[in-house]
Symmetry: D2
Subunit: 482 residues, 4 copies
């Protein structure tokens, strides 16, 4: 059984000796870095859950590829049930970590590349699919974490890759050698990159004839020569570095985004899965994006559960849990959160097999799912802020809470429902702050907007997938219009 | 094969010789009545679709009850696939008829009664379940239309049944005889009643000890002695009686609601499925309501498709189809409509078997589905009104269009995109008017709000089903709060 | 004092002998026609209110033009107080009539023409302003009702006037004579046209050089030779023709829209206020539209008051007035309605004098006002539907209520809170139906969307008026960006 | 002329020698503290603007109280024009500082206390009004900053003051002496407290008979014996302490909230304005709250202008300013922002004189204003996040930007529209981050929700002020219902 524990995972990452620029310093020993550690714990959770008796049925699955039981985060979906279970697993990880656990993007990339390479090979006579199967068999057997790297810097949004002032603003093949390619460019917003073993590089948009050098898909180890990492800042991130941890909000887990520069990185042939086939670049983007838009129907609903739970708990702590307007706001939060989840389930349950054999989500409904994710978490946050009270924006620091004089005042005056400790009330308020306006908001709000593409990208896909002309035809039939 | 055609269905209804008060007159020959006929055609569509080669796979299903192929509208769901297919079938009927096709309520009632009677028998030693199986086997074999009658008048909403000025304000058992019961009361808003062969009477809310006489469930033929029907008015209903039909909007189909009075109606024992078991009244209501809230995820999405198609078509006819704001509004309509559908699919795909063996929808998600239905069709209507233009509220009558002088002016001045006939543009405008502010709005807006219970009923169910305490527990675990 | 009573107004209209095509027939004696009469009563209300001791202070105002006290509906605003009082007067008319009282459009047209002709004369040396002052002095002295006619049919929206298949699709000057002009074309959606003495014709959009023949503004008596009227249908309009009036909803008042054809109508020179000055066509449109968008901040808030009152009353009648969710919905309705009103007040209070001396509303805020009007009445209607219950879509007809058998059942089963008569409950339900899905919805919903231009027109104006560049400059200053 | 400059103001604050617990340390020299300084600059702006030739007409006003020209931030409003100008002044401060400038609360408190003491004196024969006039004359003459302290900790929200475990959970009179009173308790969320000279203490809610000790209003110097300050944390607050300032977002200004403890503070008689008159406690709360809800219609619209400007600028910098969906989102932001402003203007323009002579806002519309403020800034933030792109959540730190290696990569890969510097693009992104999820979000989002009371408080006031019964009466009249 190719299932690693969280501890084994952490050790394997440590061996990679990754280095990154973090807050002005080039840093190794990243997993121990206080800014990084919470995010690694969140990834580690996805391993431990596969070892946990209560959850292993959901997290472990028989792979037809490597003929072994694998972690579902490396699985090629074989049915709509697999797609549904993916969403359920993601919701569970979300509610347990209260943040982005970072491992979905590689899963989504793998499933998209698997089917796209198959169809590309059929048309172009390439052998990318076999290469990818070999590669991914190894991933499954070693239970590795893979980052899916899609988002290019894009420079001036009004211009195509070749028209940019700097051709690297879209990641490109800089040189073709006999044994492989050299790539140059960068990927922004790379979620969980420093917690990953491997990177799957993909194009950022549909390339056109003449843009073959930008139509590249390949796999790269995270510790490859030529890769540079610059850590992304999050709101309130340095609270993780403070002496007292109460103000961090989420005391265990966190997210991670990294700017990743590819400065002439060599990729051997067997790790290249697209090299200039512009006619398949759009398909790859579309499929990856749709899987990833499905993912948000799970993970963000899970984080939403945490926010709902925290809101219900602070209402009790404040002594207002029975007020009708409070109950009504919590019901509204649940309603919106379950609507997101419903869209995640629906695009899974109505998925279908690809020519390569793995299952693809319903493209229309996956985009509908994500478009709701760009809206409802904001309303959940607004309602949580309403119920929690103004303290989430004005509460004294944990350091003042530790001060004998100030701390006593804080304890005295932040007491509310006597069934709860004041410090516990402060913990819940800090968790809510974390999700609505702190480091957690990067995952729960900003990533909900832009992860897997901004709302306009979903709208374009909805427009394409909805078959408006068929609806027009039905109306003409009903009205007897030619 | 127990599958009837639309024609056979219509003949079978005609034989019932139903009479009703319609617009001030006691009327027989209802199916031929111009106010009634469109609604019967909509029901007939559900029969013809089961005979149609293109759709029979969706509409026909093998019944384990009567061991024959039956129309899915009489089917007891045997799997989550059955639940999903129910929603797909409903969406298809919605887009083909553009209105309420009325046959879901009996289907939903049957599935709820099937499982509730089983559990009631287990506890109380009654034999309702066998009675119901016999009854429903007959329904399946004869392919009958059954109305599910739940909504009591309820009188003063602040009072329980026994405290009302008139005990009939909740339908009740007025007399218990050796061979059956006599019921008295009324059911409001009965959808498709005059197009039905049978009525399944159910309680309207959870009855409490002492309210046994109001805890009644039974089956009654629509042409029973003692039943009186009073036809419900719809917005712009009498346009169906006018000489020129253009102004009707939906030229073929329509909905129907009837006030149904039970003036001492006798029900023989074998048709009684609950008689005083107050502890099962709430379960029956909850299950029926949830099935019916699922239904709306199909049918209203189908009608939404018609509205979207009509909006896209009028945009072309007006010559504005390519304006970015128009395209954006249509995408928004699709997005909202598919969100409704996603909720319908999700509560189906996550359904589960009952003790009796048939499948129940996910109660939480079914309520989430319906709550969205109380919102999104209103926004779809608003957007359709925006795109269509003010003419839907000011266009001259069909009669004036037929006038040689006025008609010529109308033809001249309502011409728009020359690729389309003016009269066809008028048809589309009238269809949109029908759905946003005409007879169709009764089904698409008012019924979306109140059918299967108003939004507050869904909120209460969401509150009960969401397991808020588990979310609170997760937060306590994460924050290490006892 | 140039103030007429409602009765005097009605007599003066009768003398005009207007004829119109109504529901297939050419009809005179319009004021007595049951379809037309309610709309005339609504206009008459604006006269009687000026005679009423309680309200005359608001409705009567000293005119600097005719040096007499005039009805504010004919007033040229002399201050921001005048602008604010206009909105207050409109809200009052709205809450008293529950419909569109039709008289604002001429008032808004007059104020726009007054200032635009002044500036046009300054630039072009024309004498339109004096002509208009003479004309409007007469209007004030005679206390006449004037329709402002702006909306052309526009044919194919993708084409300019001269490129249409038919040049009449935008109303145009067909012939220029020594003593005047001949115009040809049509105006759609003309509110209250058949209740008016005069028409102020205006261009429908900004005309460009080469489109001089479409840049026309002039005054025409409603009974001019060559004008043809075709009555606009409203939802449920023919209920006004039925024997029993309960189902009409609004038992007294109603709106009116008319398609108005100008088939070679001659206009003498002294009644022409723009003849080819394309550079002032846009200004005229913009000013008129802004006044009219202000108007909606008054009238629609008034109709909103009626809907709120009806919702609060039906809640009492149903016995649910004290339920927290009911109270909350009514508060939400009030909040949205007062937001509309606030925008109406704000664009008035921040208005400014024009070069001609009368006062113009704040163009930005007037457009913001109207854009809210395209949204909030829809939510008010949705909430009213929620509170009212499904009966507004299924209640039996007034004719059945009069039937001895059916009527008794209706009376028995529609009884609710015993403090109220069943028939009164039915009246309130019919009023709500009227406003959310009946004839009243034409004014309250469809007109709220399209009257004074659709939302896109407001968005364009907001974009132009908001001075985005100044905001950008402020940000650059703050951030010290060059 | 009693107008100070910003420099004079700062010096006067310095002389107070205030001390506070800030991030775990008792700290003096607060104005120089990097966490505090930006907030003091924002207050100082309100002084400098009164000296600035471009703005002094708006900021300076003749006081009838001290018979001198005063800063409008200390003015007792004498007309609706004064109320309107207050809102305009607040919007201007908001757009110039991009944050909460803290000085409104004292202004709003003064106006509320002025009129309430007058009415209290009339009824109870007290002489609070004269005392307050003397006190406020001094404030005006000295041009002081006054904090209005209303929000008590409130402990268990389900209990009244006297029923709390600790009577100090609502600030109270602990002792009555011949020469004054001793107060004990705390006020939370005190905006700008450490930048103030004086505090106006007010009760937090309507007190009832028996709660006289909690019905207290008085003035206290900020440097009084017995007062303790604990600084409130804000999201990302410590970025202000970092070496490189780019990540702060707003490079100049910021907000401030302080937990303020009154540990047996003596207040001499002449500074007491309410002492046990429970029947006036509610009126005082209601008036203060309404003035402060009006304020938000100005200040938040001003901050909204900054967010709109930043969004428009980042769109240019990204090269997408001309995309229709971008333009549409910016128009939507403007629309919502101007709606807030319109409500601020409307409640001012419809204000009225109190018995004491100063002007009170329209209570209904002021609450409507604030209720919109609890909604629209959230949607503005969501739209700004959409337009800005994911970088606001993932951009590398300023320290990494200064690193020669990492900085070069950042410069290369964050280049976009070549007309702009990369570093300027980063500044704008950090400003947007500041407002939607950073320190600025405390003022723009959390304070918009809870400042001047949470939305439920506004809903209660709207319900009370809206005169629902009058609307019901109008409907009864229209329908001829007794």
């Amino acid at each position: 059984m190719a299932i690693k524990s969280g501890r084994e995972y952490k050790e394997s990452i440590k061996k990679l000796n990754l280095k990154a620029n973090v807050m002005g310093q080039k840093t190794g020993d990243l997993p121990e870095h206080e800014l990084v550690e919470p995010s690694q714990k969140a990834v580690a959770f996805t391993f431990d859950a596969a070892k946990n008796n209560e959850t292993k049925n959901l997290f472990c699955v028989e792979s037809t590829l490597c003929k072994d039981v694998v972690n579902r985060f490396t699985h090629l979906h074989q049915s709509t049930d697999d797609l549904v279970n993916k969403v359920k697993m993601q919701r569970y990880c979300g509610v347990k970590t209260g943040c982005c656990f970072q491992r979905c993007v590689g899963l989504d990339a793998a499933n998209a590349i698997f089917s796209t390479t198959y169809e590309c090979d059929q048309k172009h006579g390439t052998n990318y699919h076999e290469r990818f199967k070999d590669y991914w068999t190894w991933i499954q057997q070693e239970d590795l974490v893979v980052d899916g790297a899609m988002t290019d810097p894009k420079g001036d949004r009004g211009k195509r890759p070749a028209d940019q002032a700097d051709p690297d603003l879209f990641l490109r093949i800089k040189e073709r050698r006999v044994d492989g390619i050299v790539i140059s460019g960068a990927k922004l917003h790379q979620t969980g990159m420093l917690n990953s073993h491997e990177i799957l590089v993909m194009p950022t948009l549909t390339m056109r004839p003449g843009e073959e050098l930008w139509a590249v898909c390949c796999a790269v180890p995270t510790n490859s020569k030529g890769i540079h990492y610059i850590y992304g800042r999050q709101t309130s991130d340095t609270r993780k570095l403070e002496e007292y941890k109460l103000d961090v909000g989420n005391p265990v887990y966190g997210g991670q985004e990294v700017m990743t520069v590819f400065d002439d990185v060599f990729v051997p042939k067997e790790r290249v899965f697209m090299d200039g086939e512009v006619d398949f670049s759009g398909l790859l983007v579309e499929r990856f994006a749709s899987y990833h838009r499905q993912s948000y129907g799970g993970c963000k609903a899970g984080v939403g559960d945490v926010l709902i739970g925290a809101t219900a708990l602070i209402a009790k702590m404040n002594g207002v849990a029975k007020a009708s307007h409070i109950k009504d706001k919590i019901v509204e939060m649940i309603h919106l959160n379950e609507t997101i989840y419903s869209c995640g389930i629906a695009c899974s349950a109505t998925g279908a097999a690809t020519a390569a054999g793995n299952f693809q989500v319903n493209l229309l409904l996956a985009n509908v799912c994500k478009l709701n994710v760009t809206r409802f978490p904001y309303e959940l946050s607004r309602l949580a802020t309403d119920v929690a009270g103004g303290l989430i924006g004005t509460m004294p620091s944990a350091a003042d809470f530790e001060d004998p004089v100030a701390g006593a005042y804080i304890r005295k005056y932040l007491a509310a429902n006597p069934e709860y400790e004041t410090v516990d009330r402060m913990k819940v308020l800090r968790l809510i702050e974390n999700l609505v306006a702190g480091a957690g908001a990067v995952g729960y709000l900003i990533e909900s907007m832009h992860g897997a593409g901004p709302p306009t990208a979903q709208r374009i896909m909805i427009s394409r997938q909805a078959n408006i002309e068929e609806k027009v035809t039905r109306v003409k039939e009903l009205l007897n219009i030619d």
